[in-house]
């Protein structure tokens, strides 16, 4: 019963994470994953990036992006593993494990974002 009531909430987190990741990740990945490392664009200087990261609004958006994306991953990954490998009998293990990883990741994200001076 508890699981039934939790499901819409988990779906909402999945959906919210999907939107956040869809809007923000391509540009961030393009810049920090390819454009800066490959020298297409000069990376931001340390002082500027520190100023951006220490702004409360940036911290808030970044935390939301990380937490919601992790729950998006957990929700999708548990179904993917169960469907792709046909291991429905293991879903009682896979499902809580996925959400536990998402919760642990969220705590780490909050700590790291908080620690930026």
């Amino acid at each position: 019963m508890a699981k039934l009531r939790l499901e819409p909430f988990l779906w909402l987190l999945f959906s919210g994470g999907g939107v956040f990741a869809a809007l923000m990740m391509p540009v961030l990945l393009l810049l920090f994953g390819l454009a800066f490392p490959l020298g297409w664009i000069a990376p931001p200087g340390y002082a500027h990036l520190l100023a951006v990261l220490s702004h409360p609004l940036t911290r808030l958006v970044l935390l939301a992006l990380c937490v919601l994306s992790l729950f998006h991953w957990a929700h999708r990954f548990r179904y993917t593993v169960v469907d792709a490998f046909k291991v429905k009998h293991l879903s009682m293990v896979i499902t809580p494990l996925c959400y536990l990883v998402a919760i642990a990741g969220s705590v780490v994200a909050a700590y790291l974002i908080w620690r930026v001076p």
């Binding site: 990740m25 540009v27 920090f32 490392p37 970044l62 990380c66 991953w73 999708r76 001076p117």
Partner: protein, 137 residues
């Protein structure tokens, strides 16, 4: 005759069998699985982003070290593949939105194409703002 168990009256015998590699059997199944798999790359990028945040939090030397590591061929390749998957996630997610989101204005239902288009517009605006903030404003 009885090899498949079809002549028994056991209802379990009627359960369809799906092969383990079912998602490799059709292009559409495969693309569905790729869409689902995109979440792994979303998760990887969260890890990558947090490594960047940690480096910046520790100091300038760590930030420079992060930039050096991010240029290693293996990391660049992983991020290139991740970008493909993340963009595929964005496109499939936005194409789904008009089907699950019903918006009405003035008593009329807003057409799905408009809702979809507004999400793509939001994507462009958010990307521009993020780039502008990061590249010096």
């Amino acid at each position: 005759m009885s090899a498949g168990g079809t002549h028994t009256h056991n209802p379990r015998a009627l359960q369809p069998t799906v092969s383990r590699g079912w998602w490799l059997e059709r292009g559409s199944y495969f693309m569905f699985m790729m869409r689902e798999l995109s979440c792994v790359f979303v998760a990887w990028f969260v890890v990558y982003l947090l490594l960047l945040v940690r480096a910046v939090g520790r100091g300038e030397a760590f930030y420079q070290q992060f930039l050096q590591r991010s240029a290693e061929p293996g990391i660049v390749l992983l991020n290139f593949i991740s970008l493909l998957f993340v963009v595929y996630h964005t496109v499939t997610f936005f194409n789904l939105v008009p089907q699950v989101m019903v918006v009405s204005a003035g008593g009329k239902r807003v057409p799905g194409s408009l809702i979809g288009a507004s999400h793509y517009a939001a994507w462009a605006v958010v990307s521009a703002v993020v780039a502008w903030v990061l590249l010096g404003g």
